[in-house]
Symmetry: C2
Subunit: 503 residues, 2 copies
């Protein structure tokens, strides 16, 4: 860790934010582009993070009686066609399976054979195929609510891809529920958004704004889409999770009916909600610095890396013994109900070793050399401080204080991100200022979120989008009582909404 | 649970084994056929079992330093073509993606559009795409071994499908490792088979035979395939898991090279190994009886169901209180390191309730009525005994004894299956007898496994397969020293192998 003034990531955020993001992902060894167009390979360090995300969310879902299941990857075209808006939204960009065999063609190369009578699409989302099952599983009010979730891969044929943020194939969970009443379905829609917000704020340490989408930004086929939006360090917005109240639209198209207690036949009310590997991109963009990724401790694949510093061969045994002893003591402790995970990196590769862990974003690094042992100490550094900011601490104090240290990092990351969002969110009521605000940007970095009035019309929203590539991120649930004049058309009785450039 | 002489599943195993299997799966609510050809829907009770399988195996893999990752669903045709045998084996039956968009065609129906320059196949297995990553990730002996695993869906376009056993899409894990030496790769191949055998015997309670595949039954592209084989109750064999030593075949075709410590360039040695949702079919067929599925306690989605028996409305509060109290006490205990999972089923649907849980295979059922409360008791039944075999036991004794009870059921299931396999495995050295043995069957039930000598030639193996639809399941690792004359060609110096009809 000899480098003092140079950053580990080039370019810095300031110089070229999009390129910084690419480099951070690459250097963190979390994922990489695959030679398969638009798809990514999630490498072990990135996948371990996704495993932690899955297991944490899964516990939260199950506490609300959601059960996991698995539905087919392939969706017949006829299913997709059932819901008019839905097909418009998803037919544009999907992988179509048309053949079920390969044969040797000219030059001995393989060519598709065995044409299917009806092509399939690889699921872009599963409302229609799960709806088909629901229609068979539900017959009485006693079968409701039906609360399902699946962890799966989905495919949307994206033209411009960016790793984790927008890839042709991605991993996600999609919840699908059916209810006997409109209110219960609406409550579930909100409940799942609250779970997402809780998880994203308390595990990923990303502050979010909860709100409703405008009708233009709604999920195709939904009555109402609510979402959580976060601010990245380039001051663009990222939609981190969405929850959809689908009304009776999908129940109608999939024929999900039930008999009420008084023997009437009614359509069920359904919801769907999802978060994806996109969250990982958000985590990187919110917390990362010019030295790489910073992992929030509550979700990090590992908490502490021990770096034995062995200068002479004859020191090795003593230093490794001390190192393993510390690892054992740390691993016997728990952090928020899970074991503390310790890596020991004894590779003899010089300064590159420490920088590798910095770029991977492990919360705490600990160097251990002969001098530390003589003093019964360790030399520690936290990832949320600058790389050179290291301190000596008595071994036992370090071990006893590990949970507090991790919690402090966790809180610090959230507070920093919260302050950043707050400082870059502006109340704007002047149209010219609003236009200037969104036109100015430097090296891919924008000026922030604008809280401005909007009359509710598609027309004003469209104009602003055309002029500035700015969208309404959400109609926030909090502090939404104020009324004023639409930033575009000046109509009064407008609501303050969040405008931003977005991923 | 009033029915005494009638079984819950019709037909019984004896009458029509294949149909019995279908009915058991259906009645257990574990999975169902989907309207998408050859694909299944895994319902919550079946998926919860798969989750337990995944989490148990995952811990075992990780203890051997395997790390999880995720690779693209789509494989370019050119990748599949790289390994000659591999393409022969997998090109026959795969889903081919040829377009990336849908457009409105005649009659407003959707038609594929946006033809891809190079089609993709949906992965039938990932050797080639993971090989491509390995070729980039490995450059020095220091990068070895590389030990990867992914939990994923795969697709093989099967003509005749059977739920869990052979479906077009299924869920599995596929491990892929690269090593610097032949021996290390061979050791890893064996290590993973041992893990599978350990898991299948100790969790799924299915006794297995470990052995090597004949060259005809090998994985396409492998140098050596080793496997675990189990006997179903129709006395057919099911291959439960396989582990492949790939030699340098895939390293050569994917260009996975490394520099040795003395600066020479060499090809890596690779392995792959996998188990799938097929195991669930095996579990059902080994343990299930004419009343449905029987879940081994160590892997069951839930261990105990409490069935309050409320005859009068005014009993309800008292009985439910007693029931919840028992649930709380049970849930505070652990069984093999995991929490004991208790279901309370208070639905007022009469006898159907108990039968539902029998058909689902929950290890222990407990009825609770006023009389039991008066006696501070419960009325218990274990799934591995007959449905009417219930006993009264003091509440506290039941709770204190729950782990022993579950262990007893687990052992009983294994022992029963072990005896069944043993009693239906025959040493056969006479050709006529061998032919009769495999020709006779009744209602889909065969006579068993034949341990017979085989000379090692493809020719004899092929003849037997053509004549009897019987294959060599494996060349067993144990008790394989005996030499004798080939059952088909009479050549001496032959080895005793396992012949059986197989799924």
């Amino acid at each position: 860790m000899g480098k003092k003034n140079k950053n580990a990531i080039s370019p810095t955020r300031d110089k070229d934010y999009p390129m910084w993001y690419q480099e951070v992902v690459k250097e963190s060894q979390m994922a990489e582009k695959s030679p398969v167009r638009g798809c990514m390979v999630i490498k072990p360090w990135g996948y371990a993070l996704w495993e932690n995300i899955m297991s944490s969310l899964d516990v939260m879902f199950k506490k609300t009686d959601v059960k996991n299941a698995y539905f087919p990857l392939f969706i017949p075209l006829s299913y997709l066609e059932k819901e008019a808006e839905h097909v418009e939204g998803f037919a544009k960009e999907c992988a179509v399976v048309t053949h079920h065999r390969l044969e040797k063609g000219e030059n001995n190369g393989l060519v598709p054979a065995g044409k299917l009578a009806e092509p399939f699409v690889v699921r872009p989302t599963s409302e229609t195929i799960i709806g088909e099952s629901m229609s068979r599983w539900i017959s009485s009010y006693r079968d409701l609510p039906l609360l399902l979730n699946q962890w799966a891969n989905v495919v949307r044929w994206e033209m411009r891809t960016r790793i984790f943020l927008r890839t042709s194939e991605f991993l996600w969970q999609e919840g699908h529920t059916a209810h006997f009443s409109e209110q219960e379905a609406k409550d579930r829609t909100k409940m799942m958004l609250d779970i997402y917000a809780d998880f994203v704020e308390n595990y990923l340490a990303i502050p979010v704004i909860k709100g409703a989408k405008s009708s233009m930004e709604r999920f195709p086929g939904a009555v109402d889409t609510i979402c959580i939006e976060a601010m990245m360090q380039d001051k663009k917005a990222l939609q981190v999770g969405t929850s959809h109240f689908l009304g009776q639209n999908f129940a109608r198209s999939s024929n999900i009916k039930f008999q009420t207690a008084d023997k009437k036949e009614e359509l069920a009310w359904t919801t769907s909600w999802g978060v994806s590997t996109r969250m990982i991109g958000g985590m990187i963009m919110v917390h990362g610095d010019d030295d790489g990724v910073i992992m929030p401790p509550k979700i990090a694949p590992a908490h502490v890396v021990l770096l034995p510093i062995i200068k002479q061969h004859d020191e090795k045994r003593k230093i490794m013994e001390y190192t393993h002893n510390i690892a054992d003591m740390l691993q016997n402790r728990t952090y928020h109900g899970k074991k503390i995970i310790v890596e020991i990196d004894a590779r003899d590769i010089g300064g590159a070793r420490g920088w590798e862990w910095i770029k991977k974003g492990i919360p705490v690094r600990v160097e251990i050399g002969l001098r530390d042992i003589a003093d019964d100490s360790v030399f520690a550094a936290r990832r949320d401080k600058s790389p050179g900011d290291k301190y000596s601490i008595k071994k036992q104090d370090f071990i006893n204080g590990i949970e507090n240290l991790l919690d402090d990092i966790q809180k610090n990351l959230f507070n920093k991100a919260f302050a950043f969002k707050k400082n870059n969110t502006f109340t704007i009521d002047d149209k010219n200022y609003f236009y200037d605000f969104f036109k100015l940007k430097r090296n891919g970095i924008n000026k922030g979120f604008a809280m401005a009035f909007w009359c509710g019309s598609d027309k004003c929203e469209t104009k602003i989008k055309e002029d500035l590539s700015v969208t309404i991120r959400c109609l926030p649930f909090e502090n939404n009582k104020e009324k004023g004049k639409c930033i575009y058309c000046n109509n009064s009785n407008s609501q303050r909404v969040v405008f931003a450039k977005a991923y």
